[in-house]
Subunit: 196 residues, 2 copies
């Protein structure tokens, strides 16, 4: 199953493509950033983002497009452009009959590190580790797009969305999960540091 | 000059088409509302809005598409969908090479009634009067879309917007602007892009 993740943005729109194989084994396929020139008009910027995303969908034929969910509470200066960029991704997918999934940043962190509040660097290291990359993908938009794709690949069957899953853990489950995470995180940190 | 006005919305997206003739004489051409089913997924709703707006543009071949500007401060429950619907209108216009103008509701009220804070009913009556309609167009989204189109037709000379401004460049100015863009774009590409 090929998943194309999108970290929506008008100036930089991250695109990450992974393949989820048997037993949820993940393979890296592609990462890139679609850009639009901040000095041209909004309609032409949206056209550039749309064309860039549509070209990626044509090239990689994903089974699902997984897009970071945008919230109205976000930075007022950029939230509308971000929402519109997400809209371009949704339209390009819908026109090609590709199902769209929306995941929050918390969901992505949760499925990748087991902690919905994990620091960015921890998420990025896990993205690199899960995909067997020797370096963290740059820029941040590219890593976030891969995280979106991985999040969709790793989501539990019958997945709950948003913060729901975390709320459904018992205290014991949560403590166990936290402990497992810390152990894993420190192992990973050491591992990645050696590799770089 | 044919102007297609858009009052963006995900559930109801108003479309109004007027012709601005000599001496700014206005003629009514068309008014309608493009709808999407609130019970289907967001990507399919955006596709419905995009298809509806694109069909209107194909049918009426407007010289300009005038869209109500969306602000991040608006109703949090609907603002992202509204911004995305506006994005669909911008994309459909940009794909057809139609210049896009954005006007605020205050600008529209100002140019139609002379008062940027005019009550809605006063604006609607003036829309009907200016277009020689015997009744106020229904629903409100339709009247607002006509108001957008009229606002653009009646705007003061020299108030050029967005893509329009680019069209008014001389050939030399345009070539210079293109060269500047390319230089900037290639700098960005060399510096940061990581297509893998």
């Amino acid at each position: 199953m090929i998943i194309l993740g999108v970290d929506p943005g008008l100036t930089r729109c991250g695109v990450g493509v992974v393949e989820a194989g048997a037993s949820r084994r993940l393979s890296f396929i592609h990462v890139d950033v679609v850009r639009s020139d901040p000095h041209i008009s909004q309609d032409l910027r949206l056209l550039a983002v749309y064309n860039g995303l549509a070209a990626k969908m044509e090239r990689f034929c994903p089974d699902t497009v997984s897009i970071e969910r945008v919230f109205a509470q976000e930075n007022r200066n950029t939230v509308l452009g971000t929402a519109q960029a997400a809209g371009m991704a949704m339209l390009a997918a819908a026109q090609r009959g590709i199902p769209v999934a929306l995941h929050t940043p918390t969901e992505a962190k949760m499925s990748i590190t087991g902690n919905g509040r994990a620091p960015k660097i921890q998420v990025e290291r896990m993205v690199a580790q899960l995909l067997g990359l020797s370096q963290i993908p740059q820029p941040a938009d590219a890593a976030d797009a891969l995280a979106q794709a991985i999040c969709h690949a790793l989501r539990p069957a019958g997945a709950l969305q948003g913060g729901e899953r975390e709320q459904h853990l018992t205290l014991a489950q949560r403590q166990w999960a936290d402990a497992a995470h810390h152990a894993k995180a420190s192992r990973h940190t050491r591992g990645v540091d050696r590799g770089m």
